[in-house]
Symmetry: C2
Subunit: 541 residues, 2 copies
């Protein structure tokens, strides 16, 4: 008797099946884009499907072979969405380049990924020019947006799509075929690529659509406020297509006013982005009035870094409800969700917010554990360990980077580099990036906890805490603080404020006030920059 | 470059992963069973997990090899749930026998499936005795329930589970390993077996948990009111475990009073069963009062046969909301769902109920089409064709039954035997089983439409319509009607009632009033029986 004696169909999980469903059953559902010049572009899933399949045909005509990488250098809009489906439908691998990186780094990534073709926004041609000499794309297609014409020697995207006949059969896609890839910029070494398969993206979308996850539905209006070049665009494009949601893409316009305007105008009900975006949006809401709310309540899938509890509270007040989630480029990205459990529904508000500020529980088919030098860490909510993860949409390696093999354990779990505790009921709380923990006299201090407390102070807009070398304690925490416009606070005041919750030895030994903190291209606080800047900090004795 | 150049983990989709999750994160969530004697048994997912893994160990000790079938002859309760997970965790295939079939048929099925072992309820030993001589189970374990002890020569289930040490490693499960099987009794030929894999069951559960499907959540209290031996227990056991819902199993007690009592007592929020069960339950609700409602609103996954519109309406009034779904044993079983689409949310009530009475739209990763002698039928809501289906949890063949190959098309779609129309927006409406259509003078008449209209008449409890041979018209419809207790209606009255909606030539040419209509073991109207009984019907000329 064979091992596989089941009688079921061998039906591959492909992104093309999701696209076909959107085109067949939700053809009229709108796909709305705000273009770089601020004007609106309206399409729908029927058109996206047709044009994505045309693109697939054109890519095959251009000589694309299964697994070939096709790069994009684009903001979030309809044409990028067409690439999200058209490239995988042709058997290619979509590779959105992070346009916020240094040109040399973009070039390094494009070369490492061996990108064969490029599709680029006309408004981003100046970015391309800065690294074009260092890469060899066989062909480049330019998406023309409203605005003054740009001079270039490349091909026109619309003219290219018109070459499709609609008569050429597309290749059969297997679920383990590559579909898309993203690079993640570490603080050491080269960027590292994760190459997703059709299967992993379909499973990730099914998980995002579950009631206990983001519950994305055909009745939702979904807004992708995270860049499509970051962590696979958080998977939301594929989930929105699968369920037939109206889909809204903001282009480069992620400032508070543009975002709130778009949310109100299109009736957005679910969105996502890193906390930085929502910190700014919250300020925009408060400017509109203490009780301003959008026309419909909005769920926010929020991660990348942990949203401070104070942000979650204040957003709730304005009808924006954070679904706190943890994930990484390496986890497609959503791996956990921090929604209240049944028993917590009756808890007092403070206790509920405390839970929602943690990273929560893994989704089905994702497993987590924490390990430290003593082995597997117990679920006591106190013992710290490095968070390790495995599951149905978790990376098993980096693309062509055998030197990174040690990021996986011998038994196949991914070492996240995050340090976490796990509560007795399984709730994960990130304590810090392992490299961001402050090692003070043999004890660990969480820079994240200090930052979150500082950011709950009414005068503080943003805060970063880093460990700085100390002659006696090895490291001591230094707080770098940006105050809100017009607000004032002294180091002593902030220290006293922290002292209401932290032990004396955990308090920062120094405070620096700055106008702005440095951020990564994806909006995260850039701790390496802070560490570099204050490496020579002299502690007052 | 290899075809599979992705960098993702090879993480199998297994039922054991769902069980482990339930045990790890929802250990305290209750699993409540009503036992055959009516008494309550309380367990939880932690215990179910422990005991299922013990069972797996004991099965291995008994010599179970991967793919071996383990039969059950049981009602819905905790021990059957343990089998649902324990047998697949050992690498075996769970095979729940349909205890309502004729003993000869049960024996035929057990022999055809080559069942090696059997786990049986003590109260069902009398059923076993009727076919035990015709089958050879190597070992039989008996689940002892409260009540008078039964005399038998078999082993005791509890004593057997105690033999497990918890120290024996279980075999690695691959997602394409067989997990469970069910036989479907056709009206011609032998019963046919479908053998589900771990993968298909996990994907089916992910689909059931989606917001636009049944949205099963950890906050739900799920009641399985369909038998666990019917169509894989509708997949609800696996879905409930995956999300960590409280789970309620009614034993053999599916009468209206037991069901309503259980729903109220345990706070049920989601359930499933064929319309027959809900017709009886509705009568029970009406007896409790015109505005009686359960403590919490209840979603009902309802299929098997189409729930009449009048039933959906009346259940809504009592706080029970039908999620009309179509599926078969061959589709795991859920394949479609008939929830309102976004544009329908603003429709008048009548129009909404008309949609909810149809079978709806396929779930993601399921595809449907209708075909007739002219080929692919258009989506015009009128052209009838046989419904064909393919997808990620659809059968590709029957177990060891090469003679049934013609139930699949040359291009791999399953021919359902159902005749359907598809609306311009993709909504499926079943017209009839292909064999139940009345062929009258070259035209087709839907027996189902006539039955549903008859059942919306205030005096009618249930109605069946069959085609009976007619010398001139080939066939003409005959209506067999069971009236409600104390109600009266004449043939002329019912004919006039139907005449408000149907053309004259579609109206039944005869009416027979009976006390009860015959049903299949799964509660469906037994049309074969009606056809046999009235085969010699003489039309009045």
């Amino acid at each position: 008797m064979s091992d596989s004696l089941h009688t079921m169909m061998d039906y591959p999980l492909t992104l093309t099946a999701l696209l076909e469903r959107a085109g067949q059953y939700f053809a009229d559902k709108e796909v709305v884009s705000r273009l770089p010049d601020g004007s609106m572009h309206r399409s729908n899933w029927g058109q996206i499907k047709d044009r994505a399949l045309r693109m697939a045909e054109c890519l095959l005509a251009a000589g694309l072979k299964k697994g070939d990488r096709v790069a994009t250098l684009m903001w979030n809009h309809y044409a990028h969405l067409e690439c999200y489906f058209g490239v995988p439908a042709a058997g290619g691998v979509l590779h959105p380049l992070n346009l916020r990186l240094h040109p040399d780094e973009i070039a390094w990534i494009a070369n490492h990924a061996q990108d064969r073709f490029l599709i680029v926004d006309d408004v981003l041609l100046p970015v391309l020019q800065k690294f074009a000499a260092k890469v060899k794309f066989e062909r480049i297609w330019v998406v023309k947006h409203p605005g003054p014409p740009s001079r270039h020697e490349y091909e026109d995207y619309e003219a290219w799509l018109k070459e499709a006949t609609g008569q050429v059969p597309l290749p059969a896609i297997q679920e383990n075929d590559g579909a898309s890839m993203c690079y993640t910029s570490g603080t050491t070494g080269h960027p590292k690529g994760v190459l997703y398969s059709h299967r992993t993206q379909v499973l990730h979308s099914m998980a995002q659509a579950m009631a206990d996850s983001c519950a994305v539905s055909q009745h939702d209006v979904a807004l992708l406020a995270a860049p499509m070049f970051h962590a696979n665009g958080w998977g939301l494009s594929y989930t929105a297509a699968m369920v037939g949601a109206k889909y809204v893409l903001p282009g480069p316009n992620l400032d508070a006013e543009s975002l709130l305007d778009l949310i109100a105008r299109e009736g957005v009900t679910v969105t996502c982005a890193v906390p930085t975006v929502w910190l700014a949006a919250l300020a925009g809401m408060e400017k509109r009035g203490p009780d301003w709310r959008p026309p419909r309540d909005v769920r926010i899938l929020c991660g990348g870094t942990a949203p401070p509890e104070s942000l979650i509270r204040k957003l709730d007040h304005h009808g924006f409800h954070v679904i706190h989630s943890w994930g990484m480029t390496e986890t497609s990205p959503q791996a956990t969700v921090s929604l209240l459990r049944t028993k917590s529904l009756a808890w007092p508000e403070d206790q509920q917010y405390a839970v929602r500020s943690k990273q929560g529980w893994p989704l089905p088919l994702v497993e987590v554990r924490t390990c430290n030098e003593k082995g597997l860490a117990p679920w006591d909510g106190e013992t710290m360990g490095e968070l390790e993860v495995r599951g149905a949409w978790v990376a098993a390696s980096y693309f062509n980077a055998p030197e990174t093999r040690d990021r996986w354990t011998a038994d196949g779990w991914f070492r996240t580099g995050d340090v976490a505790t796990i509560d007795p009921d399984g709730c994960i709380k990130l304590v810090d990036r392992s490299k961001d923990l402050v090692k003070s006299g043999g004890e660990w201090i969480s820079s994240v906890d200090l930052e979150n407390m500082l950011m709950s102070h009414p005068a503080v807009r943003e805060a970063g805490v880093v460990g700085v070398h100390h002659p006696k304690w090895q490291e001591r925490p230094l707080a770098v603080v940006a105050l809100k416009d017009g607000a004032t606070a002294t180091a002593d005041e902030l220290c006293a404020f922290l002292g209401t919750k932290f032990a004396k030895w955990q308090l920062p030994d120094g405070f620096v006030f700055v106008h702005d903190l440095p951020h990564t291209s994806t909006g995260k606080l850039l701790k390496t920059e802070l560490r570099k800047k204050y490496a020579e900090w002299k502690w007052q004795t």
